[in-house]
Amino acid sequence: RFQGDQLLPYTHVLLQNLLFSFSSGTQSVTVENFLRVLTGRLPPSTPRSKRLLSDDRSNILIYLTGHGGNGFLKFQDSEEISNVELADAFEQMWQKRRYNELLFIIDTCQGSFGNLFKYNLNIYFFTLFVFQHQPDLAIGVHLMDRYTFYLLEFLEDIHPASKANMNDLFKVCPKSQCVSTPGHRTDLFQRDPASVLITDFFGSVRKVEITTETVNLTDPIKFIHTITKLHPHPDPPLLLFLLHPPSSPLLPVSPQKPKQKDWHPPDGFILGLWTLILMVFFQTYGVKHLKHIF
């Protein structure tokens, strides 16, 4: 999710109940942070709420929106992630059993990504070639494209007990309404799409079991001697709400430009070296003797 996210004005209860959402702040959505969250390679000081604590029974929904091109996606219009990097990240997640099933919705131009994934990774793709946008008459700027509009319309009809399945999702944006070409790839998925419920990914439905057995406890409770403070309660402190300034990164990972830990030669070095070599040549030969070289 990004600044100017199309879905924010229409926030839906289902999406609010997601267990973990990466869109914590606009500054922190970089390629490096995204890959770190996916593969779990975060510094040890990262708090629990910023980690993807998934296991082999978790279903993950990844929704990427923005600009894209042939074989890459743009992050915040300043960085790119290539399909090979994403494929590597998913492969590592699969190896480490970090997900059960993954639904990957790509809402960008030329989002047909899936060609590089060769392994049976239990991934669903729902992608799109975007060509037409739906303009907002008030501002005169395209705020949302048709694909997102129809997808949103479909999702707003889903309630937690819905039985809609994946095939319904794939029918959301036919060519006649959408002008763009949505595509989906399901060959990397083990189950039949018709048997997969939308609420597996979008809902907040958990598996529960009734507790049928109890343990009969008969011992009396031990008295725990707690040391109570002798001085009286201080007045409750005033709660000051500090508003995070938007420029502070919320993830304790380095900001967009990585700090250079290794020594790299300064930028002018290569140019200087080249100039030096050329000068030596001309010094040795003299300009008029260039014909010896060429």
């Binding site: 109940n17 267990l19 390629v31 490096e32 890959l35 770190r36 593969t39 779990g40 390679r41 975060l42 510094p43 708090p47 629990r48 709420s49 980690r51 604590l53 296991d55 082999d56 029974r57 290539s82 990097e85 590597d88 590592q92 190896q95 480490k96 059993r97 937690p160 907040s204 439905v205 958990r206 598996k207 529960v208 079991e209 009734i210 507790t211 049928t212 057995e213 109890t214 343990v215 009969n216 406890l217 008969t218 011992d219 009396p220 409770i221 031990k222 008295f223 725990i224 707690t226 030669p265 080249w274 070599i277 050329l278 030596v280 040549f281 040795t284 030969y285 003797h289 010896h292 070289i293």
Partner: protein, 565 residues
Amino acid sequence: MTEMATTEVEHRRGQLAALSIAAVVIVVGVPLWWKTTETYRAWLPVSQIQELAKLELQLSADVEVVFARGTVPPEQQKKMPLTQTQEEDHAVDEDTALKYRYETRYRTATVMEEDALNKPTAAEADLALHMLSESPCGSLVIYVIPESSSQLPLDADVYIGQRRTALLRVVEQMRAAKTLEQLLHHLQPQIKQVLRVMSFSRADITAALSDRVRFHPGSKESVADSMRAFKSSPGYEITFSLLNPDPKSHRLYWDIEGAAQTYIQPLLTKMSPVANFSIDSQTLHYTMLGVNPRYDANRGAYTLNADSLAHVINPVEARLGSNAASSNPVLNFLLYVPDAHHSPLYIQDHHKQEVPSNAFHSPRWGGIMVYNVDGYYGPEAEFPVDININMAKVMGVFLAQLRLLLGVQSSPPPTGFLVAPCGSAGLADWELDRLMWSRSVENIATATTTITSLAQLLDQIGNIVINDNIAEQVSSAVASLQLAVAELEAGNLGFALQFSKEAIMASEKAFFDPSLLHLLYFPDDQKFAIYIPLFLPMCVPILLSLLKIASEARQKRREKQAKKD
């Protein structure tokens, strides 16, 4: 003449300059470029890691079968003590093979054991036997008692005690056996069943290997079983939360510290070889369940049916605090006291029956119990009412849920088996053993998978820097794994579990090291795009001058050849 000489000298100098520059570029420049652009990769024990890819585990258990008086005819008793070894092979897939080894020792009971076995009930006999001797971790003792003994009820043939003992009653066909060998042959199926319940079974171990072996379990029950318990982790956090949606009507008091210390801590202390636990508690006010209960006029109470329970957890979970610093899995136990307008609140199962415990749990998350307080006060009470929660009842439910979630209790025992209720610690010794077996196997399987996939990853992507600390972690993980497998083979369950825990911590630390993301992918065309503008202009004059020198040298040689002829 001198002009020709100077040109000749200059020409010579030119050639020398070109050659020396070419020499400098090749001798100094190329190695410098290579050195500065290579990534530091510390040495990894790749051959040992590849050996680990093929996992062959051997699980050994020591079993002692003691025959009480009246089970074996006297002339056969001379053949004892007798030791037998049985091995069972179990090939899970092409990379993983298991061997189960039971070393069984048959002997007759001592006088003191006979006294203990003559106690009126099985529970007392169990206690008396335990006073005599204590079996080490991972071993079992089965006492065979005669058919005439009345300690077991009629429908049960086997009694499984709280420690590591079982009582097995001889049945009709066994009594007909004339020789010891025949008797042992008849006893085998029963003994095998006992072993499957009390130590390790194929199903348990295969489930523990789920990280290594991707298999599709057949039945729905086995899926549910494998999903329910938390994955093996070095530590867990347990959080008890009291949810009070209606503080205006109810003022709740719960002695959570005392209750946790009395009822939960003994279990956690007993399980300390398996994992570390930390307990905390919190109280939340004005937190509703998020699902509207339905009023049932027949019962005069509000009901929550089983289908709506699935939607309770997520809204509540957002409000729960947890220890932000650790990334250990959290087990949440919630005690919900319904508000005065929706009291009493009962949970119904799928058959619309009321659930006696009034609680439900979610696999790999925790449990929720609904505690009704409408019985504590009458209609004329002055609100808010002070209520002291009965912690023994609450902890009874939470303890049962905790046992399920930690994987202590799995499938129900087979027919004819009578299992003693778990002791005051909440965990029988043999249950702990079984958990230790499956945890050791799970840890070893996970650690081997992690290490082999890390080695594969580092091999594939040549750009990733391998720091020394990663190499150290990998080496220590490999060493711990080898030790764990060896200890498992020897039958030392405690050491095997400890080594397997060390292995898993080291391998996870190595795999999830933040530095392994340092260099991202560079496609070939980008690499060319960077190098060509830098090096090509420099190389063109050098190359051309070298070519010129070579062609001149060839010409001179041809002239010399021509002169000779």
